[in-house]
Amino acid sequence: MIEDKALLKEYLSEAEEFLDALLSDLDLLARRAGTKLDINLVNRIFRAVHSLKGLSGMMRLDEVQTLAHEFEDILDDLRMGQLALDRQSAASLQEAGAGLASLLAAAAKGSAVEEDYEKLRELISSITRGAQARARRDKSAVEEIGLSERERELLTEYEQQRVIENYNAKRSFYSISVQLEAARLDRQYRRMANSLGEKGELITTLPEKAADTSKVAFKLLFATSIKEAQVKQLVEAFGGRASRMGRSGWRRAGEALSVVVRRPRRDKESESKSSTTKLPLALGQESLQPLSPSVRIELAQIDDLSGLAHELAIEAQKLASMADRFLKSAGLGPKERHDLKFSARRIEREFVELEERLVELRMVSLAQTFTRAARVAGRLARELGKSVSVELAGRETQIDKMIADRIADPLYHILRNAIDHGVEIPAERRLAGKSARGRIKIEATLEGTRAIMAISDDGRGIDAAAVRRRAVEIGAFPGDEELSDEETLSLIFSPGFSTVDEVTALSGRGVGLDAVERTINELGGEIRVSSEPGKGTRFQLVVPTTLVMISAFIVEVSHWRYAVNVGQIIELLYIDPAQVSGRDGKRTIRWRNSNIRLVELGYLLGTGGARVLHSQGSNGSGRVPVLIARIGERQVAVAVDGFREQREIIVKSLGSLARRIKGVTGAVDLEGGDVALVLDLPGLLTRRSMGI
């Protein structure tokens, strides 16, 4: 049972989404039973069950997690061709899905009883028994296809299944060796995989040892119907070599493997058992009651509301200052004065609170990200023949949804590095006097308005001398300066950095820690690393807990750039100075058949006085760039020195110190370390008492 009510709400809300998808896909699967199996549909169902399993595990609903795992096994057999789907098994799967839905809600609320679990367990095992699908896999055939022992181990069940299907389709198999430049690995690999995918099926990509450290070597298993000469020509275009694999070997492999997926014979006992299995009402009947009272809304909708709340807050500020003026001139009595002042201030305060509450709506806990990270870590460790325990702490830490999404890749990248390069293999660990099982800890803490996610391992640590040498090699550091340990380690974030001779398929992929650092910096955060040789390494991702992304237009004034929310701009235009009427602070222009005020951004910002507009012009043409801004119901023309470009920006807070500076809502990082202030034109114009 989940005690924490907020957590329960979040769990049910998220589970409901997966259950909806699961039940609707199971219906579709049942309708298509007896026709060609749609692998994509089964994969989708698998993913939904897998997500429910993860969620349940995260909530410590172990029984539900186990049942979801068993459900997964059935789906796995189905997609591997080891279980035949007929109408009966499809209907049983539907029942099991509905049973899982009702059990999950009951377990979360603590109302599930052992009998409920037992009934679902029995249903799931009856599906498996009914299919009688499991056959011992004959690995010997795969051995004959000419792959090494290591390569054979890396071939997943799914890939083996693809070998059989391609064999049955009478395609030829090729072993392709290719070396790609590490620096352009991603792009080159994608191009090659796309080309091969157009002509056949790329079954697997296995890493190889490259002779040249600047390159990454792969061996690809490719099945196709095109001619051998065409395959060779296709592969040579990428500098690779293709050799056709022995047909006899493949035939034997295919035949042997196809035994595994032949439709199993149904024995009568299990069939009758399967057909008579009925779920009790409470479990089998899917309730029409929603699991959660929550609604899910798009982040963009919250952003719209935030924008609206901000506009209202500005209007409220104007109202409050008008109220102040009236207090002096309206001849009101003491009570009226007090009431007016009180109401105006209260409205102002409540709009600010509304804005803050809307920011809170975007916050999510790190539980899901962390649980996924732990799962990924376990899988990677298994793939690499390592044993790792992952400890999670601070999962309840709340950060902006967008930040939580953006940090996932950097987090996984560091985790992969920790498992691939940090944690030693068991034998090496024992020699170093460590337990065979490596330890990884992922921990989140709050530091003021920033969240710190620390990923630490007890592996071999980072060799600072090697880092220094490598940094000099790639020109990231001249090598003639004394650096502290911290400074030396930070060189691993240099573009093109890698101290391992062989870039493995797991951690390589051409994405370096420089990309990780860039992502974190773009979020307004920083990355720190510390390491002790032989003891382990610790990375810290420091990010703000909240942020706001807006579409902004960048303008230039007095050689400085400023960002303006495009929502505040109606139109961009160039005006002829001759169009300007009036002078000094009372200039107007004609726009859409009415006269509107013209002010200069330089004047509003205090960087310059009113210009003599006729001598100006951003491009020497004498025309003045002007943006028409929306200030409540009115429009104001704001003259600038130049237009730059429109872009999506992450607005970074200027901290508590800047809160009293009206007209500036934050700042954004620009190229070359420059900063552009994000302006709030209504706030700026109101503050400067433009009478607008």
Binding site: R450, E526, L657, V664, G673, V675, A676, L677
Partner: protein, 152 residues
């Protein structure tokens, strides 16, 4: 370390030792509690902050965070000199511009804490808020009150 500094506390409101970072801006010398600092970096390019108090030199992006630079000296007197930025640990995201960072010293109250000697120290600057003052090489050094400084 700046071991040559001799110091004498005046009105430091604490009983234990504290470490302070001593830095100079123009002719003046200031100190801040080391625990309130996050590090010292080269002063990056500064973007002016419009209509802000005079001592706000502007905004810079430091370690991915927007930082407001506080300049305790005369902005016009910089003449393009290389300056340092002392990062302050607080939600105010503030950094103090320094012409030179002289070092860290440990201050021990002399048992006279609570008795102000401000009256004796004619050269103490009253321009910036301080929680305490101490003497160093004949100079009166204010230990800055960052909270009040942030309030302006």
């Amino acid at each position: 370390m700046m071991e040559e500094i001799d110091y004498e506390l005046t009105d430091l409101p604490t009983e234990g030792d504290i470490s302070v970072l001593v830095f100079g801006v123009g002719e003046e010398v200031f100190a801040i509690n080391v625990e309130q600092t996050e590090g010292v970096v080269d002063c990056p390019r500064v973007t002016p902050l419009p209509q802000s108090p005079e001592h706000f030199a502007g905004v810079s992006s430091v370690r991915g965070r927007m930082t407001i630079l506080i300049d305790l000296g005369d902005r016009r007197a910089q003449n393009g000199k290389k300056q340092r930025l002392i990062l302050i640990r607080s939600e105010s995201q503030m950094g103090l511009v320094a012409d030179r960072v002289e070092g860290v010293v440990s201050l021990t109250p002399s048992g006279e804490s609570g008795r102000s000697k401000r009256d004796d120290a004619e050269s103490i600057s009253e321009r910036w808020p301080a929680v305490a003052h101490f003497r160093s090489g004949g100079r009166a050094v204010p230990l800055l009150d960052l909270e009040r400084l942030a309030e302006g």
